[in-house]
């Protein structure tokens, strides 16, 4: 077990944890965090595997750097969308009307009602 393999398998672990959270967690912010965890796992696999001979490979590092920046922008956009969704629908999950009857949703405050 070389250190590079250790990094790669840690990335695999992060990926599956993120996948589990993405499937099972209902809250949209948690889903987003889980999805980010998956992305971090992919980055770790790429950077970890590429340093096979003990020295880092600049090409995957550059690709991962690009990926990190895109992931940040996508996360920020997702947060904007989630807040907009919460603002319009009053709930932070994607569950249908059946789930909202159990009191998971907060009272709806629409912009139109206030004006």
């Amino acid at each position: 077990m070389t250190p590079s393999l250790l990094y790669a398998f840690a990335g695999v672990l992060l990926c599956s944890l993120g996948l589990f959270g993405f499937i099972r967690l209902a809250h949209l912010l948690r889903k987003l965090l889980a999805f980010n965890l998956m992305g971090s796992g992919v980055f770790l696999v790429m950077v970890g595997l590429a340093q096979r001979d003990g020295e880092p490979d600049p090409v995957p590092q550059a690709l991962v750097l690009t990926g990190i920046v895109v992931a940040i922008a996508a996360t920020a956009l997702a947060v904007v969308l989630i807040r907009r969704y919460y603002h319009l629908s009053g709930q932070a999950t994607l569950a249908g009307p059946a789930a909202t009857q159990h009191g998971t949703a907060k009272p709806v405050v629409r912009a139109e009602d206030r004006s």
């Binding site: 398998f9 672990l13 499937i23 090409v59 690709l63 920046v69 895109v70 912009a111």
Partner: protein, 233 residues
Amino acid sequence: MMRLLASALAIAVCLVFAGALAAAVWQIAGTPAPVSLPGLLADNLAASGVEHPVTAVLLNFRSYDTLLEIGVLVIAGIAGISMARTTSLEDPELRTSDSLLYALQRWFVPLMLVLAGYLLWAGSDRPGGAFQAGAVLAASGVMMRLGGIPMPFLRPGLLLRLGLALGFTVFLLVAVASAAGGEAFLAYPKAFTKPLILAIETVLTFSIAMVLLALFVSAPVNQALEPEEGDPG
């Protein structure tokens, strides 16, 4: 019962996924690479115009990725802005009345601006570059925003649009110009490699910081009846 079953199913799916991924990683680690990318890079580093291999990959050998990346960022920024109404900077709710933040801000903002400039310049021969510098620049913008310093260029208007599109536009112009000049798309002319890369990195830094800052500013969704930033009166 149903929840338990769903959880078990999800765990099973994740275990299968992890197993397949681990097997793939193991197989990749076992096979020797057909081409030594670091060696190839080291051989061609002198032709790239910069001394740091990561920067050389980002802005010369794989500059196509970087061009598309800044395109994605601009689209994300525009989508984020169009989703939300930005409240006025004078809104007292947006200001933090934290005196520690005010005190620290006076020290940190100039320091962070200098750090961003250093990171941008350092990218040519050591770790650093447009993305790190842009992130630091955006962070100092976030701090200024939290401290209530008015930043009129964030209002939806000409300056914001220019700032968002500047990096992508300049990058695309360089790419098209080199293609029109007889070289390949995105192949810089040999004599101007370093100045071109430096210019692209500078505008990229501005645009990345602008996109991240605009996304931060547009994140709070407020009631529609509140005055929008840039509205007269």
